[in-house]
């Protein structure tokens, strides 16, 4: 099975070309990260008190990863690979060393030349950070040694037993998540009256204390030791035994559990985290709508923000006393009806001319229409009606009898958004399994054949557009009531793109995937204007979004939580192989039957 029976390579029997290739990429990535300014900016965020900041973490993960990559052997069927040994560690070490060398050169460069004009971050601050304020000799030593060490460690990951690897993974990732989620855990422990817990883990000025970091790492590492994979075994056993009916029941139970958590949790959370959750919800609602258009019907809509804007402006016009032209000051419920009508109209209006386009053409035309809508709101022509660049302000909250939903109370906004999200999830789920959902699927697969098979493609596609538009407009309506004002600049093209990234990274067509995607991207990195959990990332959000998108496209194009269908689609060979191995006998029997 494992092709490792050959003796390990000799220590200096290296593929130097490969090592130099990956080593230079390692060095370039580190220099790039430094010059982009990530370390200097993120140095403020302490992960482990006085030992590690997020800024340094961004430099040191690079040699680790490249050490891992360079010593990874290509496994080909039928070809024996030499046993991993010290030679592989050496390749990792040299790669890391080259990475460190890159940083040394950068330091020398900053010390001797002034390139601040084109490169903003070519400055003493970065220099101080890299040299630890101890002179260039000390800094070089540290980076070269740590490069070697981390590169070796990365290479060594291949040679550990899977249990040790798992222990390390649990400890590092657990600690990382704990450190990153500091605000939430602080907030939550306050709500649960467990302040002593967070006081114990975290330092007062931020960051996990060294002692608790060690204790937590050890505890986390013990988890796989104790369980020894039993949990995973149980889960797979449980999964393989269940009937399709049970599966559906289980997913309903799971959804109910998640719903209960989201219903109860906000009571134990403070304002900031609730605000964050409300933002996540708003974008989740948008992403669910776009998921119908892109994921189910396969229409790449890049102007989705237009419907978000229509929802926001309609609510503003109907509820705000400051609306310049028509101001009935109705209740939110009534304005919501108007929102549905307006979104449907907008969906039809934008949809009708563009719906006959296919693929890339559709994407470009919708991109244009998205901008047109924003420019209309901004225009002088509509200024007497919609306020132009001043927008419409003073939008009241949502009066729900005993409760009032307003921006100052993020918890109420969160519940409001949650209700709409549940509605959106229900709509997506029901439509997916209906006649219309099947028609969308067929159109996504092959539009001309779908038409020949009797599907009215124009109507079906318009329907997808309209359903998506209505969901997006709900999000816009809640946003207007939350923020209390709408401006054209809140509806930039960036919103469309970020929602699309959420859908792609989460998993196109997958409701759970979209939920995970918006929680991770919007919750942690932040939306186009809304800060996420890692507020320090504000300036680098787009860089990280882009890098993440490229990485996902290369390594996991089906998304974080894909649907079974999409996985099958993108991994057809594996599926066919499994199917072939799986029903080997039945096929043979059938062949025999055919011959008779």
């Amino acid at each position: 099975m494992m092709s490792t029976s050959l003796a390990p390579r000799k220590l200096f029997d290296q593929n130097w070309k490969r090592i130099i290739f990956w080593g230079s990429i390692c060095a370039l990535s580190q220099v790039f990260i430094c010059l982009v300014g990530l370390p200097a900016e993120l140095d403020r965020r302490i992960l482990i008190k006085s030992t590690l900041s997020l800024g340094y973490l961004f430099i040191i993960w690079v040699p680790l990863v490249f050490g891992y990559v360079v010593s990874k052997m290509v496994e080909l069927e039928g070809i024996e690979n030499p046993k991993p040994g010290p030679a592989d560690l050496l390749s990792g070490a040299v790669t890391g060393l080259l990475g460190g060398l890159g940083l040394v050169i950068l330091m020398l460069g900053i010390d001797n030349f002034d390139l601040r004009d084109p490169l903003l971050n070519w400055n003493p601050r970065l220099f101080r950070l890299l040299t630890f304020e101890n002179g260039i000799g000390f800094g070089s030593m540290v980076w070269l040694l740590s490069g070697v060490g981390l590169g070796t460690l990365g290479a060594a990951l291949h040679q550990m037993t899977s249990r040790i690897r798992k222990m390390i993974a649990y400890a590092t990732f657990g600690l990382f998540i704990l450190a990153v989620l500091e605000d939430v855990i602080d907030d939550l422990s306050e709500g649960l009256r467990l302040e002593w817990l967070s006081d114990m883990i975290y330092d007062k000025k931020g960051g996990v204390t060294v002692t608790s970091a060690i204790v937590i790492a050890v505890v986390l590492a013990l988890i796989p030791m104790v369980t020894r994979g039993k949990i995973k075994e149980k889960v797979t056993q449980y999964r393989s035994n269940e009937e399709p009916g049970d599966q559906q029941r289980n997913s309903i139970i799971l959804f109910a559990l998640v719903a209960v958590v989201f219903l109860v949790l906000p009571w134990f959370l403070g304002g900031i985290v609730n605000e964050l959750l409300a933002n996540v919800g708003l974008f989740l609602l948008l992403a669910l709508g776009l998921n119908i258009v892109v994921g189910l019907a396969g229409l790449l809509d890049l102007g989705y923000v237009a419907f978000f804007a229509v929802g926001g402006y309609t609510t503003a016009v109907f509820t705000s006393p400051n609306s310049p032209w028509f101001s009935p000051e109705t209740h939110f419920g009534i304005s919501l009806l108007a929102v549905v009508v307006m979104a449907t109209l907008a969906g039809l209006l934008i949809g009708a001319p563009v719906i006959r386009m296919r693929g890339d053409y559709l994407a470009i035309v919708t991109l244009g229409f998205g901008e047109i809508i924003r420019l209309l709101f901004l225009s002088d022509w509509l200024k007497p009606y919609l306020g132009g660049s001043q927008g419409i302000t003073n939008i009241p909250g949502i009066d729900l009898g005993p409760w009032e939903v307003r921006g100052a109370d993020p918890r109420s906004v969160f519940y409001m958004v949650l209700a709409f999200c549940v509605l959106a999830i229900y709509v997506s789920w029901r439509l997916q399994g209906s006649r219309l959902g099947r028609a969308w699927m067929a159109i996504r697969e092959d539009e001309s054949v779908a038409e020949v098979m009797g599907i009215n493609t124009v109507n079906s596609k318009l329907m997808a557009f309209v359903v998506g538009a209505v969901l997006a407009s709900f999000s816009g309506a809640v946003l207007a009531a939350k923020v209390g004002s709408v401006f054209p600049k809140s509806f930039e093209i960036l919103v469309s793109i970020i929602i699309l990234v959420v859908v792609i990274v989460g998993g196109m067509g997958s409701i759970t995937g979209v939920m995970v995607g918006s929680l991770v991207l919007i919750g942690i990195l932040g939306g186009p204007r809304q800060p996420g959990l890692l507020q320090e990332f504000q300036n680098y959000k787009l860089l990280i979004y882009g890098a993440l998108l490229v990485f996902m496209m290369l390594k996991r194009p089906e998304g974080l939580v894909p649907t079974a269908r999409r996985t099958r689609e993108l991994h057809q060979e594996e599926y066919l192989q499994d199917a072939w191995l799986g029903d080997d006998d039945s096929d043979q029997q059938e062949e025999a039957g055919e011959r008779v």
Partner: protein
């Protein structure tokens, strides 16, 4: 009145006449074969009937009504269904879904029914499913059982051809256009499909037009044969009459070398 009447049909791509002066009629309950060498315009003829391309001039009348200018889905709704020469299933949909989706034009539920799970919606979904299973069981055990939930791309080549026919059957057509249904099948599968084509007419009441290169199949199934060459009909009639027609032999094999005078 004939089920399908083609009058003086002409299709031109640029300067090339893909079809010209095509005139013929298909009676209800007939099985008509269209044969001809490669590039004779057979598939273009199917594309014109199913609305995928519009003819340059001429008239196509189905059941007394012109189909010119209609969208492909409207034509399917009138009762014409087709399969494709290069199998064009919905590869990532399951076998069952492929057949369910093509009942689209015979069903009507939209968003509201799905959202509120109305009685009518549930009834229609059940009927669509039952009908799909009934159609698939027409092909024996090959497309039912565990295959129902397999994606179409996982099927063998012959099964994909069968599924394409099943999908066309699900649109509840009166006229079924089969484009090379046995291409790529082995002799046993071919013989079996030949009987199935006969049963499609006898049991399901379809009128069938079939494009085929396999002359054995053409001989066994067709009531009438139409021969096209370079877009022009050169002969029609019974298989025996057509197969001995010198023009047809010439189109397929070329002119015999004549002695120089």
């Amino acid at each position: 009145m004939s089920l399908l009447e083609i009058k003086n049909l002409q299709i031109t791509f640029g300067g090339l006449d893909a079809l010209s002066n095509l005139d013929f009629a298909i009676e209800e309950g007939e099985i008509v074969s269209v044969i001809g060498p490669n590039g004779a315009g057979k598939t273009t003829f199917f594309n014109a009937i199913s609305g995928m391309i519009s003819p340059t001039s001429g008239e196509i009348i189905f059941d007394g009504e012109s189909v010119l200018g209609l969208d492909p889905n409207q034509i399917t709704e009138m009762g014409i269904a087709r399969t494709f020469q290069n199998v064009r299933l919905f590869p990532n949909m399951t076998v069952l879904e492929n057949v369910m989706v093509s009942q689209h034009c015979r069903t009507s539920q939209l968003v509201v029914g799905a959202l509120f799970q109305t009685k009518a919606f549930k009834k229609e979904e059940r009927e669509i499913r039952e009908r799909a299973e009934e159609i698939l069981s027409f092909f024996g055990t090959r497309l039912v059982g565990y295959r129902l939930d397999q994606p179409a791309f996982a099927l063998s080549y012959a099964n994909r051809r069968r599924l394409e026919i099943a999908r066309a059957m699900a649109t509840q057509p009166r006229l079924l256009l089969l484009d090379e249904p046995v291409a790529g099948m082995n002799p046993i599968e071919t013989a079996e499909l030949t009987t199935l084509i006969g049963r499609l007419r006898d049991e399901w009441g379809f009128t069938i037009v079939i494009i085929e290169h396999d002359m054995k199949v053409v001989r066994d199934v067709s009531d009438r044969v139409v021969v096209l060459d370079h877009g022009v009909p050169i002969a029609q009639g019974s298989y025996d009459a057509v197969s001995t027609n010198p023009d047809v032999i010439e189109a397929y094999l070329g002119r015999p070398v004549e002695a120089k005078s």
